[in-house]
């Protein structure tokens, strides 16, 4: 599915050059749920940009879904993002003053999907992300933080991408809502077989993934399977019991 080999990324040149990634190699298979963890300054944002085809590496190769994307031009990268990757960001996921449905339809607009097909697919994605149907016409400022992330997940899903890339999707949420969002991602991974890469700095969040890659100073310091990932849906239920 994705394969990174000796990825390096250097910003600037000469004596002021700063190398953010110093030879990263790993691969992710279809249907995996991988968490990339590390403190700030570890290079995890830079890695996210490269995995998300927002940026290209200085050296090394990156093959996504059978295509080498490491030397692509800006417009080619835009095509790849459109077809292969669904993003969920920490904040500013939705366009302001725009309905939930239109936000989810937007990737389909750029992908030139037929207008009558768009709404059907957006509705399906929103339902899969667990947003109630009566919220579809709401504007983004009428939604709670958790609902916004669900809409963002639906938008990430709608193009049927090879990879869902979630960059600190719970960073702005309280613990309970975080679990709800993680639960949504886990369901997509388990029942729909979606490949998910989750970037986070919180160990609690990373423990919900099936595999955890730890970064430090631009290098991978560990890459381990997590044989017993935490189940966010069950935790949410416990949470309810505890608070009630």
């Amino acid at each position: 599915m994705i394969e990174l080999k000796d990825i390096e990324k250097t910003y600037g040149s000469g004596p002021e050059a700063y190398t953010a990634l110093k030879g990263i190699s790993f691969s992710v298979d279809e249907g995996e749920f991988v968490a990339i963890m590390g403190p700030s300054g570890s290079g995890k944002s830079t890695l996210m940009h490269i995995v998300g085809c927002l940026d290209t590496p200085t050296s090394g190769t990156y093959v996504l879904d059978g295509r080498d994307v490491s030397t692509m031009t800006d417009d080619e990268l835009a095509e790849i993002r459109k077809d292969k990757i669904g993003f969920v960001f920490q904040a500013f996921n939705l366009l302001p003053r725009t309905t939930v449905l239109r936000n989810v339809v937007l990737p389909l607009v750029y992908a030139d999907v037929e207008p009558h097909e768009r709404e059907k697919r957006a509705t399906a994605a929103l339902l899969a992300a667990g947003l109630p149907e009566d919220h579809f016409g709401h504007l983004s400022n009428q939604l709670s933080g958790g609902q916004i992330q669900r809409v963002a997940i639906a938008r990430a899903l709608v193009n049927d991408p090879a990879l869902i890339l979630a960059d600190e999707p719970t960073g702005n949420l309280d613990s309970k809502t975080s679990l709800v969002v993680l639960g949504t991602l886990q369901t997509l991974n388990r029942t729909h077989g979606r490949t998910i890469v989750l970037i986070t700095h919180e160990p609690d969040i990373a423990l919900h993934a099936g595999r955890i890659i730890r970064l430090k100073d631009g290098r991978i310091i560990s890459d381990e399977k997590n044989p017993a990932p935490r189940d966010a849906t069950r935790e949410t239920a416990l949470y309810d019991d505890a608070t009630v």
């Binding site: 417009d75 835009a78 459109k82 207008p115």
Partner: protein, 411 residues
Amino acid sequence: MTTRDLFEETHAALSANKTRSGLTILGIVIGIASVIALTAIGQGAQNSISASIDSLGSNLLEVMPGAVRMIGFGASSGRGSAKSLTPGDETAIMGVANVAAVSGEYSSRYQVTVAGANTNTTVDGVNGSYAGIRNISMDQGAFITDSQSLSLSKVAVIGSTVATDLFGTDATSTNLVGKNIRVNNMQFTVIGLMATKGGSGFGSQDNEIFIPLGTALQYFAGTGNQFLSTIDIQAATQQSMSQVQSDVTALLLSRHGVSDPAKADFSILNQQDLVSAASSVTGTFTTLLAAVAGISLLVGGIGIMNMMLTNVTERMREIGLRKAIGATKADINRQFLAEAVALTFIGGAAGVALGWSAAYAVTAMGIVAAQVTLSSVVLAFGVSAAIGIAFGWYPARRAANLNPIDALRYE
């Protein structure tokens, strides 16, 4: 991305900040409206001046006597005072090629009286062809004829102002033909009333009395003093005017025995010179108005650019997000350009409407008959679309070239 999507995105973006969009559009509205209204006013002024000049007569040349030639350093009595044009000159001019009509003129001011009223006005002795040369039409009766001139008839055609002065304010609606008037104590019978011409800016013919040329020369000039005040010549076509002018000049020089054209004892006024002088004045005037309007259009365009640049900065994260979900440079470029063009297009349409109304209002108020030309509307629309593209291009390009990572991180 279909055209409809582009429209939807543009509509959403522009209605997101209605005040700002509205004010930006207002800049364009004012620019376009002033271009349309001011060129319409300029065009209207040009038309009214041309019409005034045309009402003097068409393809008209006027021969006037020169100054009285002096011996030594005597005081000059000024051009037009010399007695150099004779009825013989008039007859000779009829033989020049491309001359359609000629009328000699003997004019002077006299006291004109009727019972109970009197006025002092210009009395013009003319031939029958004068009416055709000077575009005179009649309200009552008929104009002077050549036979009346030959028979020295004491008949008169009066202008509407003279009629009002002599016969009262509602004189033009009563029958004046057959009434008697006294000109310089000689009795004349009114045979016609001229249609009102209005002021032409070059003297009004409404305040004149016309009598047969022969009569004027006989009774007012006196025998032995048979000189004409002017000779009016109508050329056959506009193109032949300069040929007629030079031929008449040559003819009169030889008839008057003047060998040096610089010492000619007459001068010829060409109506075409008047027309081109007037249209060059109004043309300059229109250009000046259009230039002022053009400046306001330019300011409006800069307003659009300013708004679009602010937009790009404000919507940095939106641009980043759109790029992350697959918008290409071309998509972003098109979206921002569409917004700028939509602003100018709406502004252009409203501006045309406003400019048109302004021109209509100016006409309705009777200031000048402003004329909106199709070309100015097309030009204004074209210019507004061009301004949208020109001033929207740079902000759109800036948006399109944003790095998605920087755009997403922008705070």
